[in-house]
């Protein structure tokens, strides 16, 4: 996998790297980056989801609430962690911890790494859609600075649920997509085997998304994170720390006006997203009070 140095990687290569079993997951980041992490469990209404974890960490002298999808390092762990696919109780835990962070004025750091929210009977019974939507709503309105880093797979709504952040970063070999390339290929090509083509046209790599203005920064992986996890984590920690400090400087936590500005800037950030044009002839027609 040292192709990175020689030939440019295509989107499908990145997909494989983003899913690489040796790639470090959230707990590896925490153990490397925080000397003090207190994990908090449970949604207070149904269960505790091990696929989406959270807790308070001392991150370089800042008390932050960390939220992150957690994949396993082997099959047994992956079964316990549901392959990083969170259930409604995971998103409800995340929402609870976001409110905790707001109450005690802790910035929120999200580490995104999921194939997507779990599709399952129980998840539908307990309102997977509603749980994700409520997490989005809470996060959009949170009165503390928030930084998200996609460390592996950023899979659809299940990823975004903890990613409505003031700064959005991606590891160089991470991906972030509206659907898995396989699902996209199955729907639009009627052939899941066309996933590599789908991956390309979907624009899911860090470079693509930086180009589209959807993310703020790429954390370089000169050697991919599965091969050099500590180096990748250190670079990620440095980037997150820099953004946190910038945000805390610009938006002092104890200044209500700054928190309103922060929320306003976050709103504008997402408000702008999209590609559209306005048909000049129609606009002229409206202005003149007649249809074009």
């Amino acid at each position: 996998m040292t192709d990175a140095a020689s030939a440019p990687l295509n989107a499908w290569d990145r997909v494989k790297l983003a899913r690489h079993p040796e790639r470090p997951h959230t707990l590896a980041y925490l153990s490397e980056l925080s000397p003090r992490f207190v994990e908090l469990h449970g949604d207070r209404s149904f269960g505790d989801d091990l696929a989406l974890i959270g807790g308070i960490a001392d991150f370089d002298g800042i008390a932050v609430m960390v939220l992150g999808h957690q994949k396993g390092g082997n099959t047994k762990e992956n079964i316990a962690r549901n392959f990083g696919m969170a259930r409604p109780e995971g998103y409800r835990k995340a929402e609870r911890l976001m409110r905790h962070a707001e109450k005690f004025r802790m910035p929120v750091v999200s580490l995104i790494d999921t194939p997507g929210a779990e599709p399952g009977i129980g998840s539908e019974e307990r309102g997977q859609g509603t749980a994700i939507a409520e997490s989005l709503l809470t996060m959009a309105d949170l009165a503390v600075p928030t930084v998200a880093l996609v460390i592996g797979e950023g899979g659809s709504g299940g990823a975004l649920a903890i990613g409505v952040s003031d700064r959005i970063l991606m590891m160089e070999n991470a991906i972030y997509a509206v659907a898995s390339p396989e699902a996209c290929a199955a729907i639009l090509w009627k052939d899941a085997g066309k996933a590599p083509e789908a991956a390309e046209t979907m624009r899911i790599t860090a470079a693509d998304l930086l180009g589209l203005g959807l993310i703020d920064e790429i954390v370089p992986e000169p050697v991919s994170a599965d091969e050099a996890p500590r180096e990748a984590i250190a670079a990620a920690g440095a980037a997150i720390g820099r953004h946190l400090r910038e945000l805390l400087q610009e938006f002092p936590l104890d200044d209500p006006a700054a928190m309103r500005r922060l929320k306003d800037e976050r709103y504008q950030r997402f408000r702008r997203i999209g590609a559209w044009r306005e048909d000049a002839a129609v606009l002229a027609g409206i202005a003149n009070g007649v249809l074009p």
């Binding site: 929210a117 599709p119 399952g120 009977i121 998840s123 539908e124 307990r126 309102g127 997977q128 859609g129 509603t130 994700i132 939507a133 409520e134 989005l136 709503l137 959009a140 309105d141 709504g157 975004l160 990613g163 409505v164 972030y176 997509a177 509206v178 659907a179 996209c184 729907i187 639009l188 090509w189 009627k190 052939d191 066309k194 789908a198 046209t201 979907m202 624009r203 899911i204 998304l209 589209l212 959807l214 976050r266 709103y267 997402f270 408000r271 997203i273 999209g274 590609a275 559209w276 044009r277 306005e278 048909d279 000049a280 129609v282 606009l283 027609g285 409206i286 009070g289 007649v290 249809l291």
Partner: protein
């Protein structure tokens, strides 16, 4: 009230497109008779039209196009459409087996008679002013792309400014794949607009209709202040076939129906199409009353036994 003036002035001044404008894929065959997909009964098409496309025998609610819903719901000539100049782009230069997204958008506009999958505007319902955002399943399965999101957010912002409730009528087959992550981000964008609407204390009432899946269910539609659904509508996050494939389990009877969601606490009520207008009018009246009382004016006087019995 400058906010209210803007709320009204942004309309395009023209009558709404009628059903006769729709050239493509009508839900209802133009024959004399229509077969109900639920009970199999053969129904006189005119009768179906009179009932708002509800099977008189089994109560099956046929899917409706957005403009049909608007017509059924709003006071006559009260609907003023917003943002009719907005057009989709092909920001990713997306190409699948069938060609480019740009071409597909063009074809869909021709075929569906609509410019996008969401129609927004202002209207009155039994005299109560509201903002409306109605999804059109006939336009690329009402997938939420950039224009969908932008139109919805503009409608929410106008509702917030004018302090007028917004009613969304929702359907969706899933994400607009062709717009990639831009499509996913519309979930955050629309919900963020609702967060501000909520801070302003303006209500959002969502009506979930068949089918309602994916990003719409996981964003703005389910965080409404009141969530209602049409009888029998299928509503979920993941599609039933995906769940069946992945879990290898047989899905329970009635899985993901409106009735299933009600039993699981996800929606406030199921409202038959025939009662929707009246129910929404009741709700709008109650929110209006709350607004009036909160500004210090109480109109009622206690009359003992003035109840409904």
């Amino acid at each position: 009230m400058p906010a209210m003036r803007e709320f009204l002035s942004r309309r395009g001044k023209f009558r709404p497109k009628g059903r006769e404008d729709e050239t493509g894929a009508p839900q209802i065959p133009d024959d004399l008779w229509t077969k109900c997909p639920s009970c199999g009964d053969i129904i006189y098409t005119k009768e179906l039209e009179r009932s708002g496309q509800v099977c008189p025998k089994c109560d099956h609610h046929f899917r409706l196009r957005a403009r049909e819903r608007i017509e059924l719901l709003t006071d006559e000539d009260s609907f003023y459409e917003w943002d009719i100049a907005l057009r989709g782009q092909d920001p990713l230069r997306f190409v699948d087996g069938g060609g480019s997204y740009a071409k597909k958008l063009e074809q869909t506009r021709e075929k569906s008679g609509e410019d996008e999958a969401l129609i927004t505007g202002s209207a009155t319902i039994a005299g109560h002013r509201c903002a409306l955002a109605v999804a059109d399943f006939g336009f690329l399965g009402a997938s939420m792309g950039s224009v969908f999101g932008e139109k919805l957010v503009r409608a929410i912002e106008r509702a917030a400014d004018a302090r007028v409730p917004i009613i969304t009528m929702n359907a969706s087959g899933g994400a607009r794949m062709h717009e990639g992550l831009l499509s996913l981000m519309q979930m955050a964008k629309t919900v963020a607009a609702l967060a501000r609407l909520g801070d302003a204390g303006v209500p959002h009432v969502a009506v979930l209709t068949d089918p309602c899946y994916g990003g719409v269910t996981a964003s703005y539609a389910t965080v409404a202040d009141i969530v209602m659904a049409e009888p029998g509508a299928l509503i979920g996050f993941a599609g039933p076939r995906v769940i069946e494939q992945i879990t290898k389990q047989k899905l329970p009877e009635g899985f993901q129906t409106a009735e299933f969601l009600l039993a699981h606490g996800m929606i406030d009520m199921i409202v038959p199409r025939a009662e929707l207008r009246e129910r929404l009018a009741d709700i709008l009246a109650l929110y209006q009353l709350a607004e009036t009382v909160s500004h210090g004016s109480i109109v009622g006087t206690r009359e003992v036994g003035a109840g409904r019995d």
